[in-house]
Amino acid sequence: MTHFDAAGSAAHASLSAPQSIARFVGRGETFWRLLSCGAVLLMFTLGIYRFWLTTDVRRYLWSNTELVGESFEYTGTAYELLLGFLIALALLLPLYAAFFLLTLAPNNIWSLLGLLILILLGHYAFYRARRYRLTRTIYRGVRFHQTGSAILYSVCAVLWWALIVLSVGLAYPFAQSQLERFKMRHTFFGNLPGRFEGSGWHLLVRGLPLWAFTVVPLAIGTVAAMLAIDWNAINTASRADIPGTRTEASGFANIDVIIALTGAWLLGSIAFLYPVFHAIMLRWWVSGLRFGDVAVRSHLRIARVFGIYARFFGYAILFTAIAGVLLVAGAFGLSKLAGAPSSMRGEIITTVLSLGAYAAMALGYWTIYQATVKLGVWRYVVESLEVSNLAVLEGVAAAGEAASPIGEGLADALNVGGSGI
């Protein structure tokens, strides 16, 4: 035996040693580096680089996620995403042109119809993008895949969202559970069929306090604002000659106060409650996933998700402070350099630089968000997993084929999160 064998058996021993069922082995610095280089390139390519960055991010997340000692694999490529985008462009451009012409028509029904078509297309794209991502996800040499009609899904999704709006959000848990059932019913790992067992009622009970904290004050605020307007006063005042009396008599001043209070309450509660909402959703969703006899449970705790968001806010505040100092210094330096600020040339330079600064700020926050919240939540979801009946995973047969990237392209062109993870 050569020296290779000795090293090989050592590696082998470490592989077969008992390990935690699911873990994330990626290093945070690698991800930070990936994202910050990506952000700079996004800026200088006006976004063309996104296909490569998205692929890099997915490769990193997939391949560092381990289940029973074996890591996942993402086989999608940036060229596929680019192709999908080009196909989507070819399909959507004539559609956009048609919408542009229709909105010029005096009839507003056409614009509404156009909007509906775009929303339907968005859900359609989401479903097809999910298919692409699943068929590029490999575990132990076997790929995931998804069947089912994307058109049917988009119709269902639009109807559910209409119901959510009509029920002031109360239908949301049921919409989520039904749409997730649709998705998982058509999801397979090899020949192992998936399904979803999360209950809408369960989610409703967990989410009801959140709903009460946000939607109820919003409703009360709206009603109060409506009541505060003295409609009779408006009618009389509108005939008065002095315009000032109109606003005073009709109680518009009170409305400002009510709107401001409602808005402040909503902003404050959303900042605090969004992490809670995110945690509840994740735990509910993960715990409902099934593949054949393989069942998943999540032990995710709200406090930890809160911590992840707190980390994001910490970094964001730090970044804002540093960027603020740099901006002030830059503006000062520029005013010295540019000399006459009134000159056309100076103005163009200033405008271009401010645009650049704006883009850099936006990309900075995006990078921080991805590296703290996205990665943190991903890592935590993986680490808080409990999987039962793992033996089933040993004998799954391969099935399904790689799907076209058109869904990703459509989702990207329609800005419905196709470029996300």
């Binding site: 050569t2 090989g8 976004g47 462009l89 163009i348 391969a398």
Partner: protein, 378 residues
């Protein structure tokens, strides 16, 4: 790379193999033969024989080399943790990219060409787009421009009328006490329209808006705001501003702006997508670019106004007079973001174009006084 300089004798090592047919995991012995890589089960059975040229590196955790067969529909995978064995395979196979060097080279090319594409896109937007719009606009039939104008007219009126709860119509000149003003206004417009000989019927109207401004839409729609009627001291000043708007109609600037906007939206909006807040940058860049085009457009309309004022026997310098008076009140905005070029430059240019030509009054004293009351109803 098949490297004859290293020890070409067979090398062994351990790995994990998935055959791509089931998820069953095979602990295997990897044997590096001169031209092929052999994968044996622990019982000695041959699980795979891959030639070095068809190997493919796949995404994996940092300490694992994951290999597959390029272009193979069956997703068989060989995973090697042993760094020495991984290095030995890398040395024998050209496509295996353990250190990511090939990937980095490809990526550098992508980055270079993306940046080049971006630069040329910006160049096209700044230099070629105005030229394209200028060439394209004359090809659009007037019938289409008029339909476009009618639609935009309806939309603009709706947005201008927003918040108007008084019940007084937006257009001045319909009420009883505004009739005389409207007659005078129409007389002035008729004179100018006869002299101008525009290719489409003009629809000029005074609107109840306090700003001293006038705008032109495609299809010959000119809105003159009430504030301008107040700000004009002579009929010639008033006519000068309208003559400038006539210039926009004659040059089809509204239509050209639509063509340009559509082109820019296509270039930046669709092609580049909206990764994160990129949309806002695109909107800002569009405003910036549009503003830089609009300087020439305004100068051309000023030139037209001087010629038209000469034809009707008006004061060619009156436009310059009223411009400098209106601009004197408001100079705080950054000049790049307002639609009109620096007023001083415009005033100087108009003065330079003007010459002394025969003059005649455009309106009588009575008519001018009546025109001033065209928005009397409040």
């Amino acid at each position: 790379m098949s490297a004859p300089n290293i020890d070409s004798s067979t090398v062994h090592g351990r790995g994990i193999f998935f055959d791509g047919v089931t998820t069953a995991r095979h602990d295997v012995v990897v044997e590096l033969a001169p031209r092929t890589l052999h994968v044996h089960g622990v019982d000695g059975s041959v699980l795979a024989q891959w030639s070095y040229d068809e190997l493919e590196t796949l995404s994996s955790p940092e300490d694992v080399l994951r290999l597959g067969r390029a272009g193979n529909a069956v997703l068989s995978r060989l995973e090697i943790k042993d760094p020495q064995l991984a290095a030995a395979i890398d040395e024998r196979s050209l496509p295996v990219d353990r250190t990511g060097r090939i990937e980095r080279w490809l990526r550098a090319k992508v980055i270079f060409w993306s940046i080049a594409a971006t630069a040329s896109l910006i160049l096209v937007a700044v230099v070629a787009m105005p030229l394209i719009a200028t060439r394209l606009t004359p090809l659009i039939p007037y019938a289409i421009e008029r339909r476009l104008g009618a639609a935009i007219d309806a939309q603009t009126r709706m947005s201008l009328n927003e918040g108007n709860r008084s019940g007084v119509p937006l257009d001045c000149g319909s009420a009883e006490k505004e009739q005389a003003g409207r007659v005078a206004f129409e007389k002035l417009i008729r004179q100018m329209e006869m002299a101008a000989g525009l290719p489409l019927p003009l629809k000029a109207t005074v609107m109840r808006k306090p700003e001293a401004n006038a705008i032109t839409l495609p299809g010959g729609h000119i809105y003159i705001y009430e504030g301008l009627v107040g700000a004009a001291r002579t009929p010639d000043e008033f006519a000068g501003v309208i003559a400038h708007e006539f210039g926009h109609v004659a040059h089809r600037d509204g239509t050209r702006k639509i063509v340009q906007d559509a082109g820019l939206a296509l270039l930046f909006g669709m092609l580049l997508g909206d990764f994160i807040g990129g949309g806002a940058v695109v909107v800002a860049a569009k405003t910036l670019l549009r503003t830089s085009y609009s300087r020439e457009v305004e100068a051309a309309a000023d030139g037209y106004a001087v010629v038209l004022m000469t034809k009707i026997g008006g004061d060619q310098r009156a436009l310059a007079t009223i411009l400098s008076r209106i601009a004197g009140g408001t100079h705080a905005e950054p000049k790049i973001l307002v639609d009109h070029p620096e007023t001083n430059d415009r005033v100087v240019a108009i003065e330079a174009m003007a010459s002394s030509t025969p003059r005649r009054p455009l309106l009588t004293q009575t008519e001018w006084a009546a025109l001033k009351t065209i928005c009397a109803e409040q």
